[in-house]
Subunit: 226 residues, 2 copies
């Protein structure tokens, strides 16, 4: 009898195509990369607002929602899971730990993408190889690398978290752009010149135009689609 | 001038409330737990279909989409990231590695939930403490533990992947229900008796009724909401 019942149990998933059809747009990962203070997070959030207004399904991944849980450091894990666990799994800031940080973010962004969502990620992600590895895990066209190309001088002048000042004073080591390299993308899908000359809203519109040109978003979608 | 421009840059996120309002339902995590072969994955996928038909935003997390990327083992990581990386970060099946496996799944489910999505997870997750820790990271009411309470005899008779046979033969060690414990929930939000007497569709409807009773789904939502 159990076997009889099993026959009727259909295991198939709701496909990505089904979800994209329901959503009225395709899923993808928009991977913002650039120096600290370049405007990645600001841009991601403005773009997110614009997309939500169009009825597009989105998710934003950035330090705020990733570092305190998924990619928690030893300090947090010690409190919840104990010393041995924290030592084994807590992410620090060594080269290999940063690699794992980006790898997991890529894996989660892909999970969102596979549910037909447009995932926006805002991490410095300074190394070409790390970004390439994320790209390699995705289907052709799913990974959209957006280089937020703000000159170091402007990032340092903005210094929203006071990190450049600390890095210059030697209080923070291995700070991207100061004593650690930023490897600019060689073939990003988009390069945004976020030097303050154009408002970030205009840069976000550039991304939307790109998404329309790639067929990820439908053209002329009404503002109130739902 | 850069500073002037910065003033207009609004950093605020699209809130969870906004997303839930757009979606027309709340986000939550439906955490299926139970023995191998209990029907967790089948149930999650049937429920997922039913929810999608109601226009509900969902995501399914299970071994199929988690173990090959986010929680990859050393074998896969060796190929993409090299030996040292694989050794440091590859997840195996030791107690502590299984703990981390569940912790990460919880963190990702929470990310989905925070974007107003109903995340369905289907993992044995045999230990009370691991499930409790996931619950503890979430807001009151967000974590809905669903115990798929299928007797071991039925799971073993089904044995869809032939794992019980291998465990009985000693070819697999530490197999839940055979030589490793399954700690049944003591206060699950829902207990489903998936012994084959009732079709899984009826069990999925039980979950939907629960979601409506908790105000997560609106009552009487039309089948074509979009």
């Amino acid at each position: 009898m159990t076997n009889d019942t099993n026959v009727t149990w259909h295991e198939h998933r709701v496909s990505r195509d089904d979800r994209e059809r329901i959503n009225g747009h395709r899923g993808c990962v928009i991977w913002f990369t650039g120096l600290s203070g370049s405007g990645k997070s600001t841009l991601a959030n403005i773009l997110d607002h614009m997309l939500c207004e169009r009825g597009v399904r989105t998710a934003v991944l950035d330090g705020d929602n990733v570092r305190h849980a998924l990619n928690a450091g030893p300090g947090m894990l010690r409190e919840t899971h104990g010393e041995a666990f924290a030592e084994r799994f807590g992410l620090g800031f060594t080269a290999i730990d940063r690699e794992e940080n980006i790898r997991r973010i890529g894996a989660v962004a892909q999970l969102f993408c596979e549910t037909g969502v447009i995932a926006l990620t805002a991490f410095i992600s300074p190394y070409r190889l790390d970004r390439q590895r994320v790209r390699d895990t995705m289907r052709e066209g799913d990974f959209i690398e957006v280089f937020v190309d703000t000159p170091l001088e402007i990032c340092e002048e903005r210094d929203p978290k006071g990190l450049y000042k600390k890095a210059r004073a030697g209080e923070i080591k291995h700070f991207t752009g100061i004593d650690d390299p930023y490897e600019a993308p060689e073939a990003a899908e988009l390069v945004l010149h976020a030097d303050g000359e154009r408002p970030p809203e205009a840069l976000a519109v550039e991304v939307i135009e790109y998404l329309i040109s790639r067929g990820i978003l439908p053209a002329n979608r009404p503002a109130t689609a739902h």
